[in-house]
């Protein structure tokens, strides 16, 4: 196992912690944080592949991660605004109670 594989294993573990959290928690804010963790795991992969590339390109991975961080910040802002909108409609933020669209 080389260092690149170790980095990939770390980011896989982070992804799976985020996935398990997003699937098993009932609080909307924690689900959103789990999704943020999965995005962060993808960013770790970009940096790891950029760092250990046999034929390195100067700035590719770094540029990609900068754009990913910008989009993730926008996603977090919209997600938390949705959480606040849900709270206004049903006075709590449990995912199980947001079933108004259920047929």
């Amino acid at each position: 196992m080389n260092t690149l594989q170790l980095c990939l294993l770390i980011s896989s573990a982070l992804f799976c912690i985020g996935l398990a959290g997003a699937l098993s928690r009932t609080n909307t804010i924690l689900v959103l944080l789990g999704i943020e963790l999965m995005l962060n795991a993808a960013n770790l992969n970009f940096i790891a592949f950029w760092r250990f590339n046999p034929a390195p390109l100067p700035a590719t991975g770094v540029i990609f991660v900068i754009f990913a961080i910008a989009v993730a910040a926008a996603e977090a802002a919209v997600g938390l605004a949705l959480v606040i909108a849900i709270y206004r409609h049903q006075q709590n933020i449990r995912l199980q109670d947001a079933t108004r669209l259920k047929g």
Binding site: Q5, L23, N40, L44, A55, V71, A85
Partner: protein
């Protein structure tokens, strides 16, 4: 080199796992700040200093503050901060799905023959990054600017809209 990586990994994974299993929402959010700082330490370890500082500014600074504001705006009493435990079936299903994905990813990573460069880390200065951003990537920068503007305006509209929307706006 590898020892530092393992320390950083323990910091990231430990704080994340504890944060995702805690009952108290504020404690979870604060522990996730620690986890994001650990990820910034990983970027520093890999030689991507600019990304590390962006991670600290955006995640440990901005996103954590938004999360704390959302936590404080969506509670009615002190008891609301401690989340009711999820149903056991849901928790077991979530952990099983995460564990299965972890198993698949670990096998895939370990069985792939990944070539790594023997040389040192590729160095990229902030000047190079800036030239790249305003040169070949300038269209992407503009698109990201539009996305951020539209998303933040949309967030304001979503969070500020009232339940009886439109009634106050009527002349």
């Amino acid at each position: 080199m590898t020892a530092a990586l393992i320390l950083i990994a323990l910091l990231i994974l430990g704080s994340t796992a504890v944060a995702m299993s805690l009952r108290n929402l504020i404690h979870s959010a604060l522990l996730l700040v620690l986890s994001w700082m650990g990820i910034a330490a990983f970027y520093l370890w890999a030689g991507a200093e600019f990304v590390a500082f962006a991670q600290v500014l955006v995640y440990a600074g901005a996103v954590s503050m938004i999360v704390l504001f959302a936590v404080l705006l969506t509670r009615r009493s002190r008891a609301d901060l401690s989340i009711a435990p999820a149903s056991l079936r849901r928790a077991v299903a979530g952990v099983l799905a995460g564990g299965a994905t972890a198993g698949v990813l670990t096998l895939a990573v370990l069985r792939t023959n990944l070539q790594i460069a023997p040389s040192a880390a590729p160095t990229v200065t902030v000047q190079q990054l800036g030239l790249e951003l305003i040169g070949p990537q300038v269209a992407s920068v503009l698109v990201v600017g539009v996305i951020l503007t539209v998303a933040l305006l949309g967030a304001v509209v979503l969070a500020a809209s009232d339940r009886n929307d439109g009634k106050e706006d009527a002349p």
